[in-house]
């Protein structure tokens, strides 16, 4: 069975700083996807970024980038030039490929951006 661990329950940084959220996962699969989702106070679940396990290149979406270390089973999210609107819960999620595509979630990290 797959598990996803987010070891930081809460983090806070000043606006414009860079912050890195950590995520590790455990799986015996070789083909899978990893995702970061953001859940602001409105509780809307928003897809931030996606990484395919077979791709060595780290995914990037504007100020959001990941550091994907497949051998270490690590998938951290870096937010550059953080903004007040980045305040949210961030969930790391794993999806096994070529199967039922169910998302396996981490417990989440609450990120607070301070003005």
């Amino acid at each position: 069975a797959q598990t996803v661990t987010q070891s930081q329950p809460e983090m806070s940084v000043q606006e414009a700083e860079t912050v890195t959220l950590s995520c590790t996962y455990d799986t015996s699969e070789s083909n899978y996807y990893l995702f970061w989702y953001k859940q602001p106070p409105s509780r809307q679940m928003i897809l931030v970024i996606r990484q395919e396990a077979y791709k060595q290149q780290n995914a990037t979406e504007n100020r959001f980038s990941v550091n994907f270390q497949k051998a270490a089973k690590s998938f951290s999210l870096k937010i550059s030039d953080s903004q007040l609107g980045d305040t949210a819960m961030y969930f790391c999620a794993f999806m096994k490929r070529d199967s039922n595509y169910q998302l396996i979630w981490g417990a989440g990290t609450k990120l607070i951006i301070k003005p």
């Binding site: 996807y33 995702f35 989702y37 409105s42 509780r43 809307q44 679940m45 928003i46 897809l47 996606r50 969930f91 999806m95 490929r97 039922n100 595509y101 169910q102 998302l103 979630w105 981490g106 417990a107 989440g108």
Partner: protein, 114 residues
């Protein structure tokens, strides 16, 4: 761009009543997922449908049932409601045909059981 639509957004029911939640996926998405998220928790997968057939089942109570209709919308039916069913219920959709498997979430239905 069109997003996933869920209705109602808020629902208050009493114990032992029945509730029906509706989900309208993004156009041309063929797969629907239902998740339950309790306060301060991560989402828990309930059930999914691909092309109107159940594709996977998670921690869905026997009191709950769901289906996907010919227009791809889905309904989650919840009977004999219990206080512990109070949660945010998300529907997400994806396109298996496109092969990206990215799940896009609706705004959720907040169910309160009193």
């Amino acid at each position: 761009a069109a997003g996933v639509i869920q209705s109602p957004r808020h629902l208050i029911k009493e114990k032992r009543e029945t509730a029906t939640l509706k989900c309208y996926p993004i156009p041309r998405h063929d797969t629907v997922y239902w998740y339950q998220q309790g306060p301060g928790q991560d989402p828990q997968f309930l059930i999914s449908f691909y092309e109107k057939m159940q594709s996977d089942k998670g921690s869905i109570p026997d009191r709950f049932s769901a289906q996907q209709f010919s227009d791809y919308h889905s309904e989650l039916n919840m009977s004999s409601l219990e206080l512990g069913d109070s949660a945010l219920y998300f529907c997400a959709s994806s396109s298996e045909l496109q092969g990206t498997h990215e799940q896009y979430f609706g705004p959720g239905t907040r169910l309160t059981v009193t």
